[in-house]
């Protein structure tokens, strides 16, 4: 398990918070390629599975010891011993397997995962990820996030664009303790899709109804803007 963006955006309006979470998850799902093996973190990343088509051969890995989990079971058909890493009931897909925690992390460390999608507290302009500790305020622990962030072939970080207090979560340098350095490839927020490149952060897409200027103002690091960023 890892900590992450848990829908704090949207202020005190719960409906708006849910909408923001869903919008981020829906956009992130489009990054998942057919036939790949993907691990989804806790919180908003878990919602991504709802937007991935069932017929494109994606295998979901859960670090609590399962490859090939499927959709949530129908109410009344849950099994307390068949869950994802967030503890939510899932189902088996054909070809699924169970294994212990060393095997779960062996496949991660060995680079067998095509992608992980993780929540973020901060992402830096260099792709550093902080998602497990706010000193003095929140001490959840890193869970499996260090292995996932350091070893998955592609790391997608999901976060609200700013904190509850309006502070940018995409920053020049992380001030929170790192999960892993130079690991994030892509950042998806409710406002933008941003790629981490050797030259810096590149604004790939802006959410419909929002402006380039708004995104730039709410981002705590310089953004490189192509002539025509996409819209999502």
């Amino acid at each position: 398990m890892s900590a992450g963006a848990n829908g704090r955006a949207g202020g005190s309006n719960p409906a708006a918070a849910v909408d923001v979470r869903r919008r981020i998850a829906e956009r992130a799902a489009r990054e998942i390629k057919p036939g790949t093996v993907v691990n989804l973190g806790i919180g908003v990343p878990t919602l991504v599975a709802d937007y991935v088509p069932h017929d494109i051969g994606v295998v979901f890995q859960a670090e609590n010891g399962m490859l090939g989990y499927g959709v949530a079971p129908l109410p009344g058909h849950e099994d307390g011993h068949l869950t994802n890493a967030g503890g939510l009931p899932v189902t088996e897909t054909p070809g699924a397997s169970y294994f212990d925690s060393t095997v779960a992390f062996g496949m991660i460390r060995r680079g067998r995962l095509d992608m992980t999608i993780l929540g973020a507290l901060q992402v830096s302009a260099h792709g550093d990820l902080a998602n497990w500790l706010v000193p003095g305020r929140r001490v959840p622990g890193m869970g499996g996030a260090m292995e996932l962030a350091q070893k998955a072939r592609k790391v997608v970080a999901l976060t609200t664009h700013t904190s509850k207090d309006g502070e940018p979560k995409i920053v020049a340098e992380c001030t929170l303790p790192l999960t892993a350095a130079h690991c994030v490839h892509l950042i998806v927020t409710e406002l933008a899709v941003i790629e981490v490149t050797a030259e810096g952060l590149v604004l790939r897409e802006v959410a419909a109804g929002h402006s380039l200027e708004e995104v730039a103002t709410l981002t705590g690091a310089p953004l490189l803007v192509p002539t025509e960023p996409g819209v999502f």
């Binding site: 398990m1 890892s2 900590a3 878990t46 919602l47 859960a62 670090e63 609590n64 010891g65 399962m66 949530a72 849950e78 099994d79 307390g80 011993h81 068949l82 869950t83 890493a85 967030g86 503890g87 939510l88 009931p89 169970y98 294994f99 212990d100 925690s101 060393t102 779960a104 992390f105 062996g106 991660i108 460390r109 497990w132 500790l133 929140r138 001490v139 959840p140 622990g141 890193m142 869970g143 499996g144 996030a145 260090m146 292995e147 350091q150 070893k151 303790p177 790192l178 999960t179 892993a180 350095a181």
Partner: protein, 249 residues
């Protein structure tokens, strides 16, 4: 992390014969004592032995030094041991699902050491396999490096992560036989096969105890040699978090 208690050990009932390790719960409880190092299987309470943790709580054992993936939820898995202040020290990968443990840590009442989850699993496996530790590059350049020795090995920088064992290890199996052979249940397997190998004394709680020969030798996950005692489970007595919610997020 193991500290011997020879006098107390001498007073305990002898371990069961190697051909029948099935014992009453009361017998297993004799191996629990204040200040003990205890390792447990489970991931967010899933796969944590419910009957043994409940008995441990009811026995009033305190000052526990625990090793496990997490602190469960306040009323799930190992969680109640924290809520009832029985734990002095914890080595885990996260405690986010048990805010009570977090509060105790912040107040300095609970000593917590965090280890990346895969590293923790390998350290437990190393203890069970008779190794001194493992070499990993996970967490280099982060606070996970604190207090760890760095090695340069064939051009690669790695951290030295010491092996872990415990005085007593408790695990939750789907099925056990009297020889202690174990199979697990889906994602309730997680840390259990590793923890089973790392106890000086390992106690397995099983939902079903079957006769010798009934488990397919090809499918046994934990060979009985690692298991000292088998107790009959009374089943899950807590409510899962997803059962407490009106709707899934």
């Amino acid at each position: 992390m193991t500290a011997g208690a020879p006098d107390a050990a001498a007073a305990r009932t002898p371990l069961p014969a190697r051909t029948n390790k099935v014992v009453p719960l009361a017998h297993a409880l004799e191996y629990f004592h204040d200040g003990m190092t205890l390792m447990y299987g489970g991931f967010g309470g899933i796969g944590t032995p419910p009957t043994l943790t409940k008995a441990l709580l009811e026995a009033g054992v305190r000052d526990l030094s625990l090793i496990g993936n997490d602190a469960g939820f306040p009323d799930v898995g190992p969680g109640p041991l924290f809520v009832n202040r029985r734990v002095r020290r914890l080595l885990a990968s996260h405690i986010g699902s048990n805010p009570v443990a977090g509060e105790q840590m912040s107040r300095g009442e609970l000593e917590v050491e965090f280890s990346p989850q895969g590293t923790l699993a390998e350290r437990i496996r190393a203890g069970g396999m008779g190794l001194g530790g493992v070499l990993v590059d996970v967490g280099l350049g982060t606070v996970a490096e604190t207090g760890k020795a760095r090695l340069k090995l064939e051009g690669r920088t790695v951290l030295v992560e010491p092996a872990l064992t415990a005085e007593v290890a408790i695990v939750y199996a789907a099925k056990a036989d009297p020889l202690g052979n174990l199979v697990f249940d889906k994602t309730a397997r997680n840390f259990n096969p590793l923890v089973a190998m790392a106890g000086d004394i390992t106690i397995a709680e099983a939902d079903e105890i079957v006769a010798v020969g009934e488990l397919d030798p090809e499918c046994i996950v934990t060979p009985g040699i690692f298991v000292d005692m088998v107790v009959q489970s009374e089943g899950i007595h807590w409510t899962w978090v997803w059962e407490q919610r009106e709707e899934h997020p």
